[in-house]
C-alpha cells in the first residue's frame, strides 16, 4: 500500500520541479538554475516510471527501453554539442518536432495495440475520454512534427538535394485561398477524431487522421516568411506541450498533464511576448505572408571602400557605435569585432553596441554571440535607449546588419513597414561591412548603402574585420 504513494510523490515532485524550472527560466539571473531544475524533474520522472513499471507488471524489454533511452540521449547530446550558435534556432525547431512526434506516436501505439488485442473500452465514458484524448494527441502531435520540420528548413533557408548537392531555397508559398484549405483540413481532422470514437475498431480513421494532420502542419507553416519563424516555433512549442498533456489523458498520468498543459500555456504567452518584440500581430504572422519572398534585383551600385580608408576614418573620432547583425553571426566574427572595439578604446574612443531586438535569426542572438566574445554587458545597449545617441555618434560600424537598419521601415509600407529600426542613418559617418549590396531577410533594398556618408566594405565579415583591425594597428 505504501509503494504506489511513493511513485505518485515522485511524479508530484517532478511536476513541482518543472513548474519552478519554467518560472526561473524567465529571469536572467536564475535561468541556468531553472534549466537544471527542469532536467532534474525529467530524470526523476523517468526513474520513477522505470521503477514503477518494474515493481508493477515487470519490464520485459529492459534492453529495449534502456537502449532507446541511451540511443536518444546520445543523439540528443551529439546534436546539442555539435551545433553552432547560428544553428540553434533550427535545432530547437527540430527537437520540438520530435517532441510532438513522440506524443503522436505514443497515442498511435496505444490505439493500435488496443485495437489489436481487442481492448477497446466498452462503456461510453472510457471510450469517449480515451479515444478523444488519443485523437487530439495525434492531431496536435503530427501538426507539431511536420510544422516544426518545415520551420526548421525555413530557418536554414533551404536544403541540399541529396546526391545532387544542389542547394534549394525553401519556398514560401501561400495564396489567400490556402487559408480555406487549411480550415477545411482542420474540420476534416476533427471529423476523423469523431469517427475514431464512433467506429473504435476501425484503424482506417486513425490513419486518415495521421494523414490530414501531417498535411495540416505543412500547410500551416508553408506560407509564413522565414523572418517570422521564431514566433512560429514558439507557437509549435506550445502545441507540443498540449500534445503531451493529451497523452497524459491517454495513459492517465498527471505529470504529463501538468507539464504539458503548463508548457502549452507558457509557450503561448511567450509567443505573444515575441510577437510584441518583433512588432507583429500573431494573426498577421499566421495568415499573411511576410518577407522571405523573391529577392529584389539590385539595380543601383555603390563603389566599395578598402580597410585602409576606413582605418583612416577611425582616427580622431571620439564615439563609435557598433551595429551587429545576422552577417556577424554567419561569419562568426564576434571576436574580431571585440578586438576592433578594444583597439578603439585604446585610442580613447567610447564604444557602444546597438542591439536591435530581432537582429540575427533568433531573439537575443547578438547578445549571445557578443557575450561569448567577452563584450561587457553594459556596452550592449537596447534599441530604444541608443537611438537618441546616433545623432551624436561620429562613426557607426554596421557589421552584417541590414533590415534592422533599413530606413525604408519608417515609411510604414512594404514587408518591413512599421518595424522599429536603429537610426544608423543619423550618425555622422557610417561603415557597412557585408559581402554585396544585396538585400537582407525581408528582401527590401536599403537606401542606407547609397548615402554619401556611407562607406561599404564588401567582403566576408570575419575577413573584413581582421583586415580592418590590421589596418588600424598599422595606421
Amino acid at each position: 500500500m505504501v509503494d504506489p504513494i511513493i511513485f505518485d510523490i515522485g511524479y508530484l515532485l517532478s511536476a513541482a520541479l518543472f513548474i519552478t524550472g519554467i518560472k526561473k527560466l524567465g529571469s536572467p539571473r536564475t535561468a541556468p538554475y531553472g534549466n537544471q531544475l527542469g532536467s532534474a524533474g525529467m530524470l526523476l520522472a523517468v526513474i520513477t516510471t522505470l521503477v514503477k513499471m518494474q515493481v508493477g507488471n515487470g519490464i520485459i524489454g529492459w534492453e529495449l527501453l534502456v537502449g532507446g533511452l541511451v540511443l536518444g540521449s546520445v543523439i540528443g547530446a551529439w546534436l546539442a554539442v555539435k551545433v553552432e550558435m547560428t544553428g540553434m534556432p533550427e535545432l530547437v525547431a527540430l527537437f520540438n518536432g520530435f517532441g510532438g512526434a513522440a506524443s503522436a506516436l505514443v497515442a498511435l501505439s496505444e490505439v493500435l495495440a488496443r485495437i489489436k488485442t481487442g481492448e477497446v473500452p466498452t462503456d461510453m465514458l472510457n471510450l469517449w475520454a480515451i479515444w478523444i484524448a488519443i485523437g487530439l494527441s495525434g492531431l496536435v502531435g503530427w501538426i507539431t512534427l511536420t510544422g516544426s520540420l518545415v520551420a526548421m528548413f525555413k530557418l536554414k533557408g533551404g536544403f541540399t538535394i541529396p546526391l545532387t548537392k544542389k542547394w534549394v531555397r525553401f519556398p514560401t508559398w501561400g495564396p489567400p485561398w490556402l487559408n480555406f484549405v487549411k480550415v477545411g483540413l482542420l474540420i476534416a481532422s476533427f471529423a476523423f477524431v469523431v469517427m475514431t470514437v464512433r467506429e473504435p475498431e476501425n484503424a482506417l480513421w486513425v490513419w486518415a487522421l495521421v494523414g490530414s494532420s501531417c498535411l495540416l502542419g505543412v500547410l500551416f507553416v508553408l506560407p509564413i516568411g522565414g523572418a517570422d519563424m521564431p514566433v512560429v516555433v514558439s507557437l509549435l512549442n506550445s502545441l507540443s506541450g498540449v500534445a503531451a498533456a493529451f497523452t497524459g489523458f491517454v495513459i492517465n498520468n498527471n505529470v504529463l498533464i501538468i507539464a504539458g498543459s503548463m508548457v502549452g500555456a507558457a509557450g503561448l504567452v511567450l509567443t505573444f511576448i515575441m510577437c510584441k518584440a518583433m512588432n507583429r500581430q500573431l494573426i498577421d504572422v499566421l495568415f499573411k505572408s511576410f518577407g522571405g519572398s523573391d529577392k529584389e534585383t539590385v539595380t543601383r551600385t555603390k563603389v566599395g571602400s578598402d580597410p585602409e580608408e576606413v582605418a583612416m576614418m577611425c582616427d580622431g573620432i571620439s564615439t563609435c557605435i557598433i551595429i551587429p547583425g545576422y552577417g556577424m553571426a554567419v561569419s562568426q566574427c564576434q571576436h574580431a569585432v571585440k578586438e576592433f572595439a578594444d583597439l578603439m578604446e585604446e585610442r580613447d574612443v567610447e564604444v557602444k553596441y546597438a542591439i536591435h531586438p530581432v537582429a540575427g535569426r533568433m531573439p537575443g542572438h547578438m547578445n549571445v554571440l557578443l557575450a561569448e566574445a567577452n563584450v561587457p554587458y553594459e556596452q550592449l545597449i537596447e534599441m530604444d535607449e541608443i537611438n537618441s545617441e546616433f545623432a551624436e555618434c561620429d562613426l557607426a560600424v554596421v557589421i552584417g546588419a541590414n533590415d534592422t537598419t533599413n530606413p525604408a521601415a519608417r515609411s510604414g509600407e512594404g514587408p518591413l513597414g512599421g518595424m522599429p529600426i536603429l537610426d544608423v542613418d543619423k550618425a555622422r559617418s557610417i561603415v557597412i561591412i557585408k559581402r554585396s549590396l544585396s538585400v537582407g531577410y525581408a528582401g527590401v533594398d536599403n537606401d542606407l548603402f547609397f548615402m554619401d556618408k556611407t562607406m561599404m566594405l564588401f567582403g566576408d565579415g570575419k575577413a573584413m574585420m581582421s583586415a580592418l583591425n590590421t589596418a588600424i594597428k598599422e595606421y
Binding site: I22, L25, G26, S27, R29, A31, N35, G38, M42, N57, L64, L65, I75, G76, L79, A80, V83, V92, F95, N96, F98, G99, A102, S103, L105, S109, L112, A113, K116, P121, L125, A129, P230, V233, S234, N237, S240, G241, A244, F249, I251, N253, V255, L256, I257, I258, M262, V263, G264, A266, G267, L268, V269, L270, M274, P363, V368, A371, E372, N374
Partner: protein, 107 residues
C-alpha cells in the same frame, strides 16, 4: 486501466489549474531569454518520454511486439532526443548569456 468519472474530473481539474499556472508563470521576459526559455520549455514538453516508456513496455509485454511496440520505441527515442538535446542546448545558450554575466557580478 479503466477510468472512473471521478478520476477523469480530477485530471481535468489538474489540466485547467496547470494551464492557469502556465499563463501566470511567465510575465516579462527580456529578449535575450526568449530562445532559451522556448528551448527549455520545449525540453520539458519531452515529458512524453514517460508515456513512451509505458507504451513500449505495454506493447512488448503483450507478447507479440507488432507495429505498436516499434512505434512506442520510436517515440521513446524521439522523446529522449527532445529532452536530453533540449536541456543541453538550453544550457549551452544560457552559459553564454547568464554565465558571463554571473562571472562579471562576482568579479
Amino acid at each position: 486501466m479503466s477510468l472512473t468519472i471521478a478520476a477523469l474530473i480530477g485530471s481535468i481539474t489538474i489540466f485547467v489549474l496547470a494551464i492557469y499556472l502556465g499563463f501566470e508563470l511567465i510575465s516579462k521576459v527580456p529578449a535575450t531569454l526568449h530562445t532559451p526559455l522556448m528551448s527549455g520549455a520545449n525540453a520539458i514538453s519531452g515529458i512524453t518520454v514517460v508515456g513512451a516508456l509505458l507504451a513500449s513496455n505495454v506493447a512488448f509485454n503483450s507478447g507479440s511486439p507488432g507495429i505498436a511496440a516499434w512505434l512506442g520505441f520510436t517515440a521513446l527515442v524521439l522523446a529522449t532526443i527532445n529532452c536530453v538535446g533540449g536541456f543541453m542546448v538550453t544550457n549551452r545558450m544560457l552559459e553564454m548569456i547568464a554565465g558571463k554575466r554571473r562571472k562579471k557580478e562576482v568579479s
